[in-house]
């Protein structure tokens, strides 16, 4: 035996020893084996598939093949029935012994007339919808078939005409532009704006995704200025100003010419000037910081009957300090009052 060239070259590269070996068959084969092999195999094949020379194909009863399907079906049903009985026997012997008797009674001729009854009902139902409604629901049948929506008078009569007019209007506008300017008419069909490819197919998803990413963060609430509240503040300021002016005017009196030491007058003026520059909180704070001696000395110097009456009207008697705290003695008060009368 000689190798094909390629295989020989391959074997020589792998193993020159094997390439040089002569391919000798060491196995022994019985004489005539291959000559008889095919026949013996055929015999084996025929034995395997069961084909013999003596097979009789004519021994088939008459009508066997025609009745075969029905026979098989009956056998299957019998087997199923037996299977149920056998299963029952396995499950419970007591159940098997119970006679299969129907306990429920059925009217005479029920099954014979059943098909006809159903058909008649169906025919009756098909005849009129009233009948169908009465069958379905009596409450529905009792409802008046009224329409609850109002429509303009002559709506349906004029509907076709109005639709046609609209169609004509569209057609006429096209004809109009065509007559005026064929160039303009052609331009209408040209879309100059470009849209990114796939934009409309993805815009919905983009919106949803954007909305999802921004959820969870509270939106900034911007309070819009309310014009009505502005007018309220203006009105309050006007009223307050009027009250202040009236009070000021009522309490404003020419100063009493009491000879005051120049230094204290200058001092007083600066205090007044300072008080004018103060706001309410600052004024109250400064007032609270005054001592009793400061107040009494001021009243002695600058007090008037009106001031006293104003104070007394606005001051609760209970809030006043006790006589012992307020006055040293009665004589001091009398002297003070006399002094005030003399000065006025």
């Amino acid at each position: 035996m000689k190798f094909q060239n390629a295989i020989l070259i391959e074997l020589q590269s792998l193993s020159p020893l094997l390439a040089d070996l002569e391919k000798i068959t060491v196995f022994f084969v019985p004489e005539g084996y291959f000559e008889n092999l095919s026949n013996s195999i055929l015999i084996c094949v025929k034995e395997d598939i069961g084909i013999t020379n003596n097979s009789k194909l004519d021994d088939v009863p008459e009508g066997y093949l025609e009745n075969l399907p029905a026979t098989i079906l009956n056998k299957i049903k019998a087997q199923q029935k037996n299977a149920v009985v056998n299963n029952l026997e396995e499950l419970s012997e007591s159940l098997r012994n119970i006679k299969q008797k129907e306990l429920f009674e059925v009217p005479t001729g029920y099954f014979e007339n059943l098909a006809v009854t159903i058909l008649n009902k169906l025919k009756v139902a098909e005849k009129s919808s009233d009948t169908e409604e009465s069958i379905l629901s009596e409450s529905i049948q009792s409802l008046d078939q009224e329409t609850f929506f109002d429509i303009p008078a002559g709506y349906f009569e004029n509907l076709s005409v109005s639709i046609l007019d609209k169609i004509k209007a569209v057609a006429s506008s096209k004809e109009e532009i065509k007559k005026l300017s064929p160039l303009m008419e052609s331009l209408q069909q040209v879309n100059v704006f470009e849209v990114l490819e796939g934009y409309f197919s993805t815009v919905q998803d983009n919106i949803i995704n954007t909305a999802k990413t921004t959820t969870g963060t509270t939106a900034k609430v911007v309070i819009m200025p309310n014009p009505r509240s502005f007018f309220k503040y203006v009105a309050a300021a006007v009223i307050t100003g009027a009250m202040v002016l009236s009070v000021y005017k009522y309490t404003n009196k020419p100063a009493i010419n009491i000879p005051v030491p120049a230094l204290s007058f200058a001092k007083l003026d600066s205090s007044i000037e300072k008080g004018k520059a103060m706001n309410e909180d600052q004024f109250n704070e400064a007032l609270n910081s005054l001592t009793k001696e400061d107040i009494t000395s001021y009243l002695e110097k600058n007090g008037s009957d009106e001031d006293i009456s104003l104070l007394t009207n606005n001051v609760e008697v209970n809030d006043l300090p006790s006589k012992d705290d307020y006055l040293l003695d009665e004589k001091t008060l009398e002297n003070y009052l006399d002094k005030i009368k003399f000065q006025n």
Partner: protein
């Protein structure tokens, strides 16, 4: 007409025709019997075993040839059946040997040594013993390439293995056999 010289297509047509089925089948057997026999024999060693495997193999061919799609050559299809039958037979023998307590070691090497014509000094017997050291599939690869000179492409169809894997397997087999021959 000598059936052996008929084309595979003609033999298949004869087989598929019910009137000439046996004639076509006989022609196929006669055309491929020796090649397939030796392929099986080199795997199972024993003649009786090879005969059993060969007959079983052709019975299967008889049953399956009607469904042969002819997308591969007939002889590669036959080789594939023969290889599978041989390897299955060896597996069955191994299982039988492991179950049966009376069998000491019924290996294929012993079968070779038990052959009437066995001569340990002859290199061709050493080659056979060296081949028995290979795994079954590797042995099949070596047989198909060395004895049957089958191209790797056809071998891949027979053994349902990639050509690269077959090439590697053959190269390893050659090296192993050479080492065995040199060292024994």
């Amino acid at each position: 007409m000598n059936q052996q010289h008929l084309d595979d297509t003609e033999l298949l047509l004869q087989f598929k025709d019910s009137s000439t089925k046996e004639k076509g089948f006989t022609g196929i057997i006669k055309k491929y019997q020796e090649k397939l026999y030796w392929h099986i024999r080199r795997i199972v060693i024993d003649h009786e075993d090879a005969n059993d495997v060969l007959q079983n193999m052709f019975i299967k061919v008889w049953n399956a040839l009607d469904n042969f799609r002819e997308d591969s050559q007939l002889y590669t299809w036959l080789y594939r059946i023969a290889t599978n039958e041989s390897l299955t037979y060896i597996e069955q023998q191994k299982k039988r040997a492991s179950v049966s307590l009376s069998d000491v070691e019924n290996g294929l090497s012993n079968k070779l040594r038990a052959d009437i014509n066995y001569d340990s000094n002859k290199i061709e017997w050493k080659l056979q013993l060296a081949m028995q050291q290979l795994p079954e599939k590797q042995r099949v690869v070596f047989n198909l390439r060395y004895y049957d000179e089958m191209p790797y492409q056809e071998m891949s169809i027979v053994l349902e293995t990639s050509e690269g894997a077959l090439k590697a397997s053959y190269h390893h087999a050659v090296k192993k056999i050479e080492d065995y021959i040199l060292n024994h």
